[in-house]
Amino acid sequence: MPKLTFISSSGDRHEIAASNGASVMECAIEHGIEGIVAECGGSMSCGTCHVYLDRETYERLGTPPTAENDLLDFVNAPRRPTSRLSCQIKVDEHLDGAVISVPQSQY
């Protein structure tokens, strides 16, 4: 199972073993990671599961699709170069070791 590290806005680190096939958002919620709201349950319409990836992981995944890219313009916390919506990232072995920072607020 790929290991993911979440870093909260106050700097707390949580390492989880994520389930292959689920989304990063689903894994975060399942493991009680705070700060990922996901109002729309992963339908990609609310922009409340925004995270910042480490640069290496971001580049490995490639540019987000158009619809996600559009919605990232409307997230609450500042958009940064490695911003993604965690509901749109599927967990697989390529994600092992990813460091995911959670913004202070989703709205």
Partner: protein, 423 residues
């Protein structure tokens, strides 16, 4: 409460039984007091009059909303009073072929509709409407100002039509009759969530057919003349391919929007203004500092939720708050109660526009059925307050006792909102 409770095992006299006896699903007066009194002890109870298990706490309501695998949305808009066969026959004769594609269906069917709808109902598109929505709000303000009246009904003169006109922007139709749309929608709400007599149902059915024909004609027109609007976007997403979306599904989605895009926003606007104007100091606070408005909107949605309750059906045997419910059980999630749950909202019974977590209400639902129009509704409510506080800073509520609420299971909004414009 035991960990395995069934309906027949609820003893008379226990808080859970008493809650079911006391609950009046269509009576809005006293509803929040009722929930406040039962919520600490009774997370779920059975309401025999509507054959539903009523969920009172936020965490349980949230868990059900997020679990579309085990909880079906198929009963979300089922009529409380079943439609008679005569009415079904009439609607068939009228070629009323509306089908559940969105709010009252489950994946994978729901996913098709949502994917197509999202190509247009998204934040980026909504943002383009800001100037038009503001112009619309100002046109109502101007009419009110020019009426020369000291006292006006804000529902009649503003909030009843305003969201319908915004819906017309989304539909790409600026010249429609907003009153007609509102009347259709009011009837449809009563047909589903109210308690009509047979005669009233048959009368409403005629309007329902008209409503459907209107949606169908709109889609047919856009097939010939596409524009930058919702029906055209659905047709584009369909691209003539029934495996993506059928034409009847497109019409059903447009038909759905004709109701969903304004009914709850009219209610939310009325509820928000009612709570603000009841508290002159709070009104004064947003007059003096408009940056408080976005959170005031959220607090209004939380405290005076306009979609007060929403239904689900258990697809399998489930357990909610320690109570075992068999497959097929109907569940009524009280969003009103969930949004005042003390576990999430400290002093949840107090209206506080400075509340830091007001936005964590579930007034727009949660999970895959979360309202696609939520950003647009928020924008409409924000602009409504920005414009009203600018135009009528000294506005005061008048004749508060005359305000009443339509008795339906799921929706709540004031029928009138008389105000004195200049204090």
């Amino acid at each position: 409460m035991t960990s395995r409770t069934t309906l027949s095992e609820i003893p008379a006299g226990c808080p859970m039984h008493q809650a079911g006896e006391r609950f009046q699903p269509f009576e809005h007066k006293g509803m929040t007091d009722f929930y406040a009194s039962v919520r600490p002890e009774v997370p779920i109870f059975y309401a025999p009059s509507i054959d539903c298990w009523v969920v009172t706490r936020r965490e349980d309501a949230l868990a059900v909303l997020r679990d579309h695998e085990r909880f079906s949305a198929s009963n979300a808009t089922a009529p409380i009073v079943p439609w008679p066969e005569e009415m079904h026959q009439f609607l068939r004769d009228q070629h009323f072929t509306n089908e559940s594609v969105q709010v009252a269906c489950d994946p994978p069917r729901h996913t098709r509709g949502r994917n197509a709808a999202m190509t247009f109902l998204n934040m980026k598109k909504f943002q383009n409407y800001e100037a038009d929505v503001r112009a619309l709000a100002r046109s109502y303000i101007n009419e009110i100002s020019n009426s020369g009246k000291d006292v006006v009904d804000l529902v009649e003169s503003f909030t009843y039509e305003y969201p319908a006109k915004v819906a017309f922007l989304v539909l790409g139709e600026k010249q429609l009759d907003a009153r007609k749309l509102k009347q259709w929608a009011d009837l449809r709400i009563k047909l589903i969530f109210g308690t009509l007599t047979h005669e009233q149902q048959m009368e409403a059915a005629r309007d329902l057919a008209d409503f459907w024909h209107f949606a169908s004609a709109l889609v047919e027109q856009r097939k010939k003349h596409p524009g930058d609007d919702y029906p055209s976007a659905l047709l584009a997403a369909r691209a003539g391919d029934d495996s993506i979306l059928t034409e009847n599904e497109v019409k059903s989605l447009v038909f759905g929007l004709l109701l969903a895009a304004h009914e709850t926003t009219t209610n939310a606007a009325g509820n928000l203004l009612f709570e603000l104007l009841k508290r002159p100091i709070t009104w004064q606070a947003i007059v003096e500092d408009q940056s408080l408005i976005p959170n005031a909107v959220e607090e209004g949605l939380r405290y005076a939720t306009s979609t007060i309750a929403w239904r689900r059906r258990a697809k399998v045997d489930v357990e909610i708050a320690g109570v075992q419910l068999p497959q097929g059980s109907q569940i009524l999630l009280s969003l009103t109660s969930a949004n005042r749950d003390e576990k999430q909202f400290t002093d949840g019974e107090i209206f506080d526009i400075g509340r830091s977590n007001a936005r964590s209400h579930i007034a727009f639902g949660n999970g895959i059925h979360h309202c696609l129009g939520a950003p647009l509704a928020r924008m409409e409510l924000r602009i409504l307050l920005e414009e009203l506080t600018t135009a009528f800073p000294k506005m005061r509520l008048e004749d508060e006792e005359s305000i009443s609420f339509l008795p339906t299971l799921s929706f709540r909004g004031p029928d009138r909102l008389p105000v004195r414009l200049n204090g």
